[in-house]
Symmetry: C3
Subunit: 270 residues, 3 copies
């Protein structure tokens, strides 16, 4: 039975790029179900893609997971396929970090191959569209059950690219966190998750002072956007169970000028 | 046999929201066909979502119809599933009006359940992403044939939220209508449908004066955009068989400053 | 066995147009696999749609290929279905040129029908949404195996609309080419393909002077964007094996003010 394929990229929706990759998959594996996670990532946003992929995959059925955010396409960065420890999932994409967080969250890499000379690639392979010419055909063959070892040359999993993300710093009177993702509603996810919260002063129902750049606002730590009035800010645990900032019906990222990696300082609103 | 699922939302295409909902459905009901109506609705546009859903569903196969435009997610607004009178269709979404016009057009609600404590929900359920944690799994279970009564607690269908839309006013020398939808081409649909037209002075081929705000233009009542030259306005019956305003190759909404609920006065262009 | 359908349009993602067409197809041919090439073409961009379709289809499985970019919907332009010489592919769409380049690339038209009075159309057919009312049902019936001859009235294939694109002019000391497509990354494809390159002075690794309007830049002829630093321009063979201009991590189209049909003059960067 053909395995399902999830597909994430920064190809956007204006062009045929994602569609042609799907067409290549359908030609090789007509019965493969392809689920688009999104193709609307900001261009070349490897880190945001890595965060989004790691958050999405636990909700998908095990299968082949294709992720193409690839500013270095055609250069020496390796194209790879990685088997992770959990549920026999296979990740396919460039080895530039976009697969790193999902690999880690799903049990770590247990086997990997370099796809540079994959027998599954389309010929003539182009230098600029490895999604179509390399990653899609490899994903399709893996979905059909072709062994990982036949997709490329074995590589040492300890050499796979990792992502270094900033760590939050927790003090008795403040928490220094960082923006890891800004969604299309302008909600900003911070690098502070459910488990870490208990070691801080942050408690549901309390008010918190939020410093970002030169801006400061005071917001409640609530459950959902609509716990505050339209235009009001709120701190909450988002759907990835990380702390996040939102403004009900408006954009927190715009109001506070937040972009990924920005520092945000939280303190009790005395 | 698994029933098809249609899916409408304001999740947009930048993020993984719609994709993750599809992944959740695929995990529960691998054979379910999911047809995306659109995820590009303006954020929180409950009324526009309701109009669009009601216009789209008569063209879809009967099945499960998921619609998530949910500014009040996580608050006391009820999540619901509704069986309508026509063709055994099941509508799933928040009870904030987004399902109201489709329910009405498809024979009215005949059975409904409150999904707040649905056994189908994912645990831990978040307060901000009921699409993923509640509505998608319920839709998937219903597609598999699970009875509606097992998806939640029965509720009185007379308590389902209705949408109050303005009524057009027809006079011998003018018609006061309202914008109900503006599409991506800038065409503006008015709340005056095929059946109501015959009681007005509006006749195909005649010229009509259109007042909107402080702007007035005179346009023919034609059949299609291309009946007038580029940049010229036209009044026509659109694909939902409602009266609409367009400008060939340009945007009527922009030219006339039209947004939903705006009043438009039509009179004979003497 | 139901044949796959590819679907390209300028319907965009804000509205239900593409989704409703897919729903109509699913109602008629529930087992048909529909692959969206893209719906994000610029509105009414018949020529860009034609280029994109011709580049995409060779990568898709043979089947039914639906393309709707239709500024003249409802007027005298003919709706058509065309069988081409290669692999029994069937193209469906308006006869305004959007099918022309793909038809040519896929072996030329060998049989065609005028769909104006197709028995497959939905009734009442509207004047503004032939995608839903005519093209989608015809594509679905053809996918099910219904004969082309039963979809409409036979027409003389020599009367199908052709696209006249400018030809590049090659001189010993310069090449005058034209922009045929600008993608969402701002990369601009020129009308000079792999085969034509050998008759020019353009050689991989050499530097080239690029004149566009009043702007001139000098760029290397490289293999991929990342062969130059961020913000640097490059001339390369793109994924359609045509010459193209890019700026690494930025937009060549914006930098040089390029839009389709613009003239670009290439000369050796002495």
């Amino acid at each position: 039975m053909t395995r399902p394929i999830t597909f994430l990229s920064d190809y956007g929706y204006a062009d045929e790029f994602a569609g042609v990759c799907r067409a290549v998959i359908a030609r090789i594996a007509p019965d493969a179900k392809v689920i688009d996670i999104t193709h609307g990532l900001p261009r070349h946003a490897v880190r945001q893609g890595a965060v989004l992929l790691a958050n999405a995959l636990p909700f998908t059925a095990p299968g082949v997971h294709l992720a193409v955010v690839d500013p270095g396409v055609g250069t020496e960065r390796r194209p790879v396929a990685v088997r992770v420890g959990d549920e026999e999932r296979l990740l396919v994409g460039p080895d530039n970090g976009v697969l790193a967080l999902a690999t880690e969250r799903l049990g770590g890499g247990v086997e990997a191959v370099d796809l540079s000379a994959s027998p599954h690639r389309l010929e003539p392979i182009t230098s600029t569209f490895h999604g179509r010419d390399l990653f899609a055909p490899v994903a399709a063959q893996l979905a059909l059950g072709s062994p990982l070892a036949e997709a490329g040359e074995p590589l040492d999993i300890s050499t796979l690219t990792r992502l270094e993300l900033p760590d939050p710093r927790v003090y008795p009177d403040r928490v220094v966190a960082h923006v890891v993702y800004v969604d299309g509603f302008g909600n900003a996810t911070l690098n502070l998750d459910h488990e870490q919260l208990s070691s801080t002063f942050l408690r549901l129902g309390e008010r918190v002072a939020v410093h970002a750049g030169t801006t400061q606002i005071k917001v409640p730590f609530g459950r959902t956007f609509a716990d505050v009035g339209p235009g009001q800010g709120i701190l909450y645990e988002d759907a990835s169970r990380s702390l996040a900032l939102a403004v009900n019906r408006e954009s927190a990222a715009e109001l506070l000028g937040l972009t990924p990696d920005d520092e945000v300082v939280l303190s009790p609103a005395s």
